[in-house]
Amino acid sequence: MAAATPDGGDRSIVAFCCRECAYAAADASANARTPLPPTVRLVLVPCTGRVSPLHLLKALAEGADGVMVAGCLLGQCHYREGNFNAVDRVAFVQRLLKSVGVEPERCRMFTMSAGEPPKFVAAVREMDRVIGGLPPLPRSSYGDRTGQREATAAAASRTARPLEPTRGAA
């Protein structure tokens, strides 16, 4: 998932973009052939109000180094108040991250209108620059359940194995 960047870093950023504004801005910037940092992955959502804390944290847990939510200008949401919900959820995720010792800058909210492709490009570059300056995320180094899961998988395979010889013999 991580992409090699010109400055030699391996990182990836997931951008949840609202269909009405941010994704349209991204589309326009691509039409204008403005280069985006190769680290960013765009995810289209109908409205930023669709993004839940689970989306943000799971993206971080499964390989992203930063997540950004890009939506309409405050007060100009096409679904009236979806982006206000997103602002509060992003703030909540930032507090969650902070309470377990992860930099809250890894999750950020940006707003722009559909007619502002430069603003979108600037937001992505800003995010890329900030994430590039952070130490890597220590995934699964602390208190994870993967050890447990491997133990149960090993136990399951141990119980499954005796079946095979009998099937082969029969």
């Binding site: 499964e62 206000f84 509060d88 909540f92 969650l96 010792g101 995934r139 602390y142 208190g143």
Partner: protein, 145 residues
């Protein structure tokens, strides 16, 4: 302790207060926070306002939540990322509705068990008042000696 006339008047004015001495009230309420999904049904149905949705969220609740539940998935993601144990409760922004810890005030609770009956996650247990517990502890030792 018997109530004064004024005390009884105040109790009767409180919602559900007149039930306080009747049978079927006085259950012991046990909350299992790790099963709570934060829907706030208990707070909505509580006749005395003993359960309320707070403005804070205890991060440990995510880590304790059972695997497969929504909170459990969030906790699993957080467990992968965390550098140390959570610092404690975080303040919840206004529009985040589900991730809130319910504040339970045992002083206001009259033990009617409405919360336990309405809880969709079975996170609240109401134990009926024990009839045999109220009398004096059995003097079995004194008799045998």
């Amino acid at each position: 302790m018997p109530l004064t006339h004024r005390g009884r008047e105040i109790l009767n004015r409180a919602p559900g207060g007149h039930l306080r001495s009747t049978a079927g009230v006085g259950c012991e309420i046990l909350r299992h926070e790790e099963l709570c999904v934060g829907c706030g049904t208990c707070a909505k149905n509580c006749p005395t306002g003993a359960s309320e949705r707070g403005g804070f969220f205890d991060v440990q609740q995510l880590l304790d939540a059972p695997e497969g539940s929504r909170r459990g998935e969030l906790g699993a993601a957080l467990r992968v990322l965390m550098r140390h144990e959570p610092d404690g409760p975080v303040e919840v922004p206004e529009r985040v509705t589900v991730y809130r810890t319910v504040v339970y005030d045992a002083e206001k609770c009259m033990g009617c068990g409405t919360c336990a009956r309405n809880c969709p996650a079975d996170a609240i247990e109401a134990r009926p008042p024990r009839a045999d517990a109220a009398p004096s502890p059995a003097p079995a030792e004194g008799v045998s000696a």
